[in-house]
Structure formats: C-alpha cells, structure tokens
Subunit: 344 residues, 4 copies
C-alpha cells in the first residue's frame, strides 16, 4: 500500500530529528526564550528581507488552525470580522475556531480557491455604502491562503492588487501559508518570501505540512505584532513550555535553504505525478501547480485503486465520478511515483 | 413630513401605557416573578394552544437581536452552528451577535428571504456525507423569520416541510417572530399561533415592532427551555430587574386579542398602500403580503419624495433605481395613507 | 403587607409615565437617534460639568449587569481583566456576565464593600513585580460601585486617591452607579456629579433603581467612548430599536432636578427608618448612609416580621441571627415608614 | 552554570527521540488516527485500571494550559464555573485562558496549594443556601492539581474525601496532572494511577514536564468524554495534524514503565537536594515531597548564587529574604546535585 493521502503522513525531515537529538540535553529556558528560537527567528527575518531587529516580529505556533485563530482574533478589533473566500480553510474546515473567538467570517466568492481583488474591493465599498452598516460586522482583515485549499496560487500581480485594495481600505492582509513552501517552489511562481513580506501585513510559513513534526512561523511584517502577544498566545492555550521544539525545527529548516530544497522535491514529484495521470488519460478537477493534485476518478476506478493506494476523498463530481486528492510532500520519493504509475 | 420609515417609530399602543400607569405604584417583586408576568405567560401559552402549566416555558426578553442571541446560544451545543437563509437577520444585521457567543451562522440560499425545505435537507445530508465533517461546524438549529426580512411568509405547507426536515435530522426549528403578528394577520396566511407552536421548537412573538415599547415573548414549545434559563439570561446581561415592564405589556397585548387587532390594522394599511403604488404605476421589488413593502424608485423620484416622506433605503437596484422600504404598523392611520397618495 | 424588598418594586416616577404618554404618537427614528435621547444626553453632560459637545459621550443602556458587561468588555484590551473588591457586583452577582465576554474579574479585599486605594496600588505594583506576570491577566480597569452593594460610600478624598492610583498605573476607573442618585443625595456625601465625572473615566447614572422603568446612562468622561460603540452594543444584543424609551425617561429625570429630588426622598425615608430601628434597639450590620439598610434580626423576630413586611435576606450572621436588607426608594412614603414603626 | 530552573529545560527522554526516529518515515494517517496513538491509549487505559475499550476515553493534547482550558470548557455547562484553590494554576497563571472560554474560576482557600474537602463542601452548600444564587455562577467542576503548584500532594484519604464531596453535589472532579508522575513516585505517596482513575472523573498525565517534548494524556474515567471531542479540540485550535507526535511519545513513556522510572530519578535527586540544603542550614518555605523544592534565601545569598546556578524566583518572603524554586526532573543527574552542593 502506498499513500498520497496528505502531506503530513511522515514524521519530520531527518535533519530536524538530528538537530533535536543533538541539542536534547542542553538546558534551555522555556516559552520561546531559548537560543535556537532566537536563531530561527533571525534566519526567518533575513529570508523575508526584514531586518535582524524585526526578528522579534516572528513567532512560532504549533498548528495551522491554531495560528489562524490567534492571528485573526488578535489582529481584529471587536467590531470586525475577517473576509475569506467561500472555500477558505477558516470558513469551512476549522470547526468554528474563528467564531469561537467571537468573530465572524465574512465570505466572498472563490475562484478555484482564490478571491479576486475587484470583488474584495466591491465587498468593502458596498459595506460602507450600506445605510445599515452600523448593524453589520465590519470587514477588518482579509484572509487568503497560498497555496489555496485547491493547490492554486496567487501571482505577484494578483497579490499586489489584493494588497492595494487592503491598503486603500486600511485593513491588513493575512496569508495562511500552511503549505507556503510548496507555493514558493512551484515552477511558474513569481512570488518570493520578501515579496510576500512586503505585500502582506502578516503571514505564516508552514512547518507541519512542510517537513516539521509541528509548527508554523508567523511573521508580522510591519512591526505590527499585537501588544503582549505572548500573553495572548497563553490565553488561547497555545504557549508551549518547551518552545525549543519549535525553535530547533525552524532553525534547521532555515539553515542552508533546507525549507526550499525539500519543497522543490514535492513539486518535482507532483509534476511527475501530473504527467503520469495525463498520459493515462485522467482528467484533473483544476490545474494545480503545487503539491496537491485533484483528479476526477470514475467511481469504479476509485474503488479499485483504493485497494493499493491511499488518497483523499475531496468531493462528489457527478453521479459516477468523484474528485480525489493526491498529495506529494518533502518526503515523496521517485520510487513511490513509479509504483503509482504501475497501478494506474 | 410623514414617516413610513419603520414599524417602530411610535411609542406603544395606548392600552399598554394605561396598564403601566394603572399598576405603577403596586409593589411587585423583580426579575419576572410578578403577577402580571405570570398572567401574560398564561395568556400566551393559551393563545399558542399550550397547557397552562407550559406557561413556565414562556420567557420575556427585551429586543430581537438579544432574543436571537440568547435562544441560539442556549439551544446549540458547543460543536454546533445555526443554519440561516443568507439574508437572515442573524446572518447579516446583528453585528456579529451570534458569533460573539462562539457559534457560526451557516448559510443556505435565500428565496425572497425564505429557505427551502429541500435545500435545508440537502445541506444537512451533505454535511454528514462529507468525510471531513468532524472538522466542520455541525448544523444544530434551523433559524427562520416569519415574516422574513423581505416581508414574505412561509405557508403552512412550507413550515410543515421545514419542521419535518428538522425532525428527520433531530435539530430544533427556531422562528424569529419579531414581526410575527403582521404575518399571522396577513390576508392569505394559513398559519395560526398553535400551528407555529406545534411545528417549531422555539419561537418568539415580537412586541417591539408590534405595539410595545420593547419586549419579545419567547415560547419553548416542547418543554425544552434550557436549564437555569434565568441564570443564562443574566449571564447575557439581559435580565431586567423590573420584569413587570415586559409582563404588563404582553399581558395587555394578549388581553381581548389586542395583539391581533392592531396587526390587522397594519395589514389593512399595507394593502391600501400597495394599491396606491400599483395604481400609480410603481413596481415592487417582490410581492410582500405583510407590513413591509419594497418599492423600486427611480433615483430622481426618490430624491423628490424624500422631501416629504420618510422611508428606508434598502438596496441599490440598478444605476438609476433604488429599492426602498415603506412600513406600516399598528399605529398607521388611514389619513397617513391618504397623505402619501397625494405625494406620489 | 408593606414592602421594603428592594428599590425596584414600583414602576416609574409618574412624570416619566406622563412624558412617555405625551410623546407616544410622535414619529421618532430608532436606535437612539431621536430628539429626546439627544436632549437627555445634553442635560446629563451639563449636569456632569461636561461640554455640550461631549453629550455624544453619553449612552443609554437598559440594565445594570448589561452596562457593566458592555463597559468592561469594551474598555479592556484582550490581555486585561477588571479589578473589583471581592464583594463587587461584577464579581459575585452577575452570573458570570463579565467572564462570558472573555475577561477575568481580579479581586482585592473589600472593606464594607469598598476597595482601598493603597491596596489597589499594591495589587497593581505587585503584579508588575511578579516575574511570571506575562502568564497572568493584566489589571486593565478598576471597578467600584457608588453606593456599594452594602450601601456605603466613597468620600471625595477616597475617590481622589483611587483616581490617582489609576492614573499612576494608566488604567481607567469605572464607577457602577446603579444607585448613584442615592449616593449623591446621602446627607454627608461630599461628591458631586462633576467630581465623579472628573475623577472617573467612565461611570453610569442608574435609572432602573432610581425612578425609571429601566435604563442606565453611561458617561465616558474623557472623550474615551470606544470606537463604533453602537455596533458593539448591538453585538452584545443590547441595542434597543425604540431608543426613545430610554431617552424620554432620562430627559424627564434630568429636567428640573427630578433625579436629585426623588433621591432625596429615599434618603429622608432611610434616615427615618434608621432612627426607628435604633430607637427600638435593633443593631445594624454596618452604618449605611444611603437607601439600603442592613439590620441584624433575631431569627424568631425575622420570622414574625415576615408575616407583615417584605425585606431581603442578605446573609447569615450567626446561628440565631440573620442580616436582612430594608430598602427605601424614590417611591417610599412617610406612611409606609410609620406603618413599619408599628410593626417593630 | 548549572540549571534547576524548571523541569522542562531539557528536550525529551532519549527513548522518545529514538522512537520518533525509528517510525519517522512510516506513512501514518493524521489527527490521532495512527497506530502509535492507538497503542499509547491502550497502554494508558491499562495502567489506569480501565478496560481496553475505555482506551477511547484517552486523548492527547499538547500542553497543560491548553488541556485545562479544553477539559474545563467542555465539561462545564454554560451556567457553571470551576472551583479551584486560590493558588491553582487555572486561577493565577494561565493568562485568563479559562475565562477566555466564558467560564469563571471560583476560588476557595488554599492550604499549601491544596483545597480542603470540608471547605469545598461548605462552599457548594452555601452557594445553594444563598437566596440569590440564581444570579451567581454555579459550581460545576472541582479542579485540583497533583502535585500542586507548591509541590505538595493529596493523600489517598484526602482525595477520597474530595471525591465524596464532589459526588454528593454531583459535580465532576478534575485533576491537573502536569507533573503527575513526580507525585506518583514521591516516597510517601499512597496514591496509584488506578486510585486516581477511580476517584477523579477526568485527569491528565503530564508529558511536557515529565520527559516528553510536549503532550498531556487526558483520561476520562467514567465514559464521560464530551460528545464530538475531536471537533471541540479543533474548535479550540488544539488538534495536531501529526497526532503521531503525541502518540509515539506516550507509547514510549508507557512501555516498560519508563514514565515511572524516570520520575523516580527526579524524586531521588530532589531528596538529595533537600538533604544538602538542610545540612547547609537553609530553610524551606514548605515541605514538598516532589520534584519542586521551595527554599528561602537571603537576598545577598540569592544574588551570589545566581552567578553559578539558575533557579526560579517564586515570591518575596520578607524584606531580606526571597522564596526561590529548585526543580529536578527525569533528566537531573547525580553530578549536577554534587555540583550544587559545592556552591552552597
């Protein structure tokens, strides 16, 4: 049985386990005040084109939903909600984690997982034009994911336009980068980390799905980390006593471009996987340039394939077809792709 | 200047003010434990076809959003959200009051303000079919308004179907009746209070917009009032020390069918208003059988009319037209309608 | 049966009912945008020594717990809690309404219901001295009640000291004035409304317990009303559609010093009541200069008295004695006091 | 520089790192559905004297505050709060994480960190005796920590009494076991894991401070895990995608009694440390039988010692003395103790 079920089926990149083992008996102080965390923050600030001093604007959290919840709750004012594409993770697949903090998710149309700058602009403009808007939730933050939940990517032009709309309306732009590395390494992607740091007000660099055991690195790009952020993280139940666990992992990922290299592997394997499916005459649900590939399978074929391959059910396509997801990752080998080829 | 701005522009029906004055110096105990509140609850239980004992399932709150917030928050379990039509008041015009309590509003399509039973059924069925649904907000309550925010009404057949879908999926059905009286008295309405009490699990009879200074009467129809409801109301900041204010008003409204009589007036005036607009060649945005009428005005006509009549902006229709709302109420006189006629 | 059960057993001062009746059929716009509300705000600003322009810093809410909840929630930052004396209403008798908004109530010792300036100062200083304080709730607001839950009063000297401590630590001082009028009119009270407006950052003038059917007038004294306060009030479910109900009542109470005159009556009756109890040899639990009197009754005497007088159980004193409360109000007559005298 | 700063200064027990490395490239499904998590749950159920089937009542979370927050929020009904000793972690050092979920922490006196059964009993009885209790927060859960924040322990007799009080009043008993292993292995402790599982309704076995990189194992002992617990954990932002990280760690800790063995080391080292301090004439703040030792240092001595040893400031003792904490752990070596001895 081979598995393309998700990009979090393996543990961590071996270099991370080595770093954890090597530093294991060092006595380090807790709650993110250790030297590895400090080093990781500095490396990330540097990779984002920020100053070393701005490394205090980098913060490590444990998982994606937790990060979305904390960033959104702490960036919004009490009368504001967050705008998301209808298919956005925060709107659909976080079990109400945003609303749990008292904030509404305001949705606008999704186009293969993406929001359009002009639709965002209209949404906000219409809000203020509505005579009744004092009885409504104010748009206070725009949430996007890169890659999106459908594996698609914003181009530099699109992100620039979104950023301009946000600045025009004075709301911050937040990018969920749970799989950011796979987006950065996609073949035609024209966005760099410094671009993202410049265009977004806050974003995070995913670790959990990109080679770490757990961990997401939040970057506040405009010296806009909320006051007493440590305390707010604690209040959300999200402060790790052994902050080293996150610090060491990101320190490793951002040493010698490891983060980028392992993401390239995922992309290379995904491109191979795409070729194989195409050659075999399969249809894709949409064209994804990243590590998640959405294939339309005949139901009978799906049942047959499930005997030897694991993949994710995504949604019903029609009576006789289903959309399923195959994910590659930092850990996917060429051999696994070859094996899949034989089964198709 | 005459006003059709809303159905809450006047104070209270004179009989209410008289009752308040008459009882004013009686020493009554607080927090809804007084005799007027008791009497009002019994009259309402009776009008709903419930037993006298079930009068302990009637509860008075102050306003509509407060009532929606408290009912939804106390009826939902922590992993559940409330399903509403996209145009539902709880989804759009309550400033996030539902989300403030930690619950998501789950939306389905609106058809002139109404949800369709089959779409509700599909929504819930699809939710359970989704392999990912443990990461999603469970549908836990269906919210409808009668009349809707667009003045439209569910028929007995439609409400029965919604009720059946809710029972099939074991979720309660909640009716926002902020303007319920106007719906009950609409000319072709085939729903009675006992029908509503039978088909819904909880609903409320609006006072604020139907002749009272303030107040909504919540009715839990299946002996399903949440435990320690008094305490929960207090926790929401909604327990009035002088509960008599609500009790006396509803006691008056439910004496000698006053509630129904004054609603009939609103409907009669609305029908006259409709005829006038029709005669003068105006177009309606939709066909409303209740006290709220949505008219499409040419923008220049609108500007002219605003000099002598107050009405509400609803939404932009197209570049040169606007949808506006004219509301009648228990207090609207024939004279006022005549005056409007002259201005059109 | 005569009742001294509380100060909210009667309806409203007759002048209020008259004003409601007189204005009843005027078409007024909703949500506090009417002329009576505007007038009431201006009169209150004036009575507080504020400018007419600052009348936009006056806001009407419905009840005491609601007001405490909204003021505290909207004045605190997310990492802050409110400091209260251990016996404070927000700490003990609001069913967790403050915690419902996500904020902790931090308690310091109570001295007959009051907090001491030096203990408040120590509490805050110790907080910042604690090496661990980033894991604790920051003190963000000081809450006091005037009169306190025990009928006692802060003197001008005491309030000045509290105010100085708050300014030193840069946290606002909030006074719960649910019974403020009775405090202002107490015989030896040396605090005026302008004093309170000067020394506190926000406070409210109680209506519910001081002659109104419902209503509390919040005053933000330093142009510090939270942004989009209307929206926040709506989000808390506390925005009345018929704002006139609150506006007309406060407009009446602040016309010709009515608020102060009716409070003087309560104080005069309370002083008579105190004399009678003293003459008859009863002991007081503490010395209250306001309308709430706490008497220690032998249990057998209490049982006897309950046959003809209503009063409130307060707390057990010892095995054979109980502390009970007798409350006078704007509505208490000399005749009622005489009647009580006969029963003692 | 040697460090006794806390019990979370080192990484993980080497056996854990080995297990993580060994399983690293296995493809495992996410969110706690993997085989290691299943195995760990079974081993823990067994160690607690529960049935194998009850292993579905074991759940892994990431950290202590997170666990307290989730257990308390999901076990309480909306009108309830949690009772804690005044020094309880949930009351003092969690940045308001409990209140963030809308629940009050109700405090009773602490006796060297412990609550007394009779005081708990009185608190609940008095609550129901209070005429006003419908306006108060209902006691809904009792929270204790074992060892307490002061290193002290409940005896079997004390825990039995607390359990009886809780059952009498029908509220669950919750034990915070962030350092449970150190309590179980304390020399005179007469409580076993099965005792705790029998006497408590829910408790957790700490990993973060007891040899793991992170992780706490919650055990619901009466088949009382809240419905849809996975979903509720997600809603709190606490569901790890790579659940294996927690499963593998606890599987290792509960293989061959590793958890107990490493805790014994901490106790042995703590006893040595106590002897050394006593021999040198130092005084203890209280008598702790576990891995946290609270010593009273002269301020000048403290300053001197800080040059070569790290320990934690606890609280001011008097003008010239300070209470400080020395913590041993699974990782503390005999050599480190010897080194400390030389410095005293």
């Amino acid at each position: 049985m081979i598995s393309f079920e998700s990009d979090y089926i393996e543990g961590a990149h071996p270099a991370i386990l080595e770093a954890l083992a090597k530093s294991n008996m060092e006595a380090l102080s807790g709650y993110g005040s250790d030297s590895y965390t400090k080093s990781a923050k500095e490396k990330i600030a540097l990779a984002c084109g920020l100053s070393k001093k701005q490394s205090n604007q980098v913060y490590f959290l444990t998982g994606g939903t937790q990060t979305n919840q904390i960033v959104i709750d702490t960036m919004l004012r009490p009368f504001e909600g967050v705008i998301s594409a209808q298919t956005g993770h925060v709107s659909v697949h976080e079990a109400g984690a945003i609303e749990f903090t008292g904030h509404k998710v305001l949705t606008i149309p999704a186009h293969e997982g993406k929001m359009k700058a002009d639709e965002l602009d209209s949404y906000i403009s219409d809000f203020y034009a509505d005579g009744n808007h004092e009885h409504m939730v104010f748009p206070g933050l725009a949430y996007i994911s890169q890659p999106t939940e459908y594996g698609t990517l914003y181009t530099k032009k699109e992100l620039t336009e979104l950023s301009q709309v946000c600045r025009k309306h004075k709301i911050p732009l937040f990018m969920d980068g749970a799989r950011l590395g796979y987006g950065l390494m996609a073949r035609d992607s024209d966005l760099t980390l410094p671009d993202i740091a410049r265009l977004c007000d806050v974003f995070y660099i995913g670790g959990t799905k990109v080679g770490a055991l757990c961990g997401e690195a939040v970057v506040f790009t405009k010296e806009n980390m909320p006051a007493h952020f440590d305390n707010l993280v604690k209040k959300h139940g999200a402060l790790l006593a052994k902050g080293r666990l996150l610090g060491i992992q990101f320190d490793t990922l951002f040493t010698d471009d490891l983060y980028f290299k392992i993401c390239r592997n995922a992309i290379d394997r995904a491109e191979e996987l795409k070729s194989i499916f195409r050659e075999k005459g399969y249809k894709f649900y949409l064209d994804s340039p990243t590590n998640q590939q959405f294939v339309i399978l005949e139901n009978s074929k799906m049942t047959e394939l499930q005997k030897s391959v694991r993949f994710s059910f995504w949604e019903k396509y029609d009576e006789s077809h289903t959309v399923v997801r195959f994910a590659t990752s930092w850990a996917t080998t060429k051999e696994k792709i070859e094996e899949l080829k034989k089964l198709l």
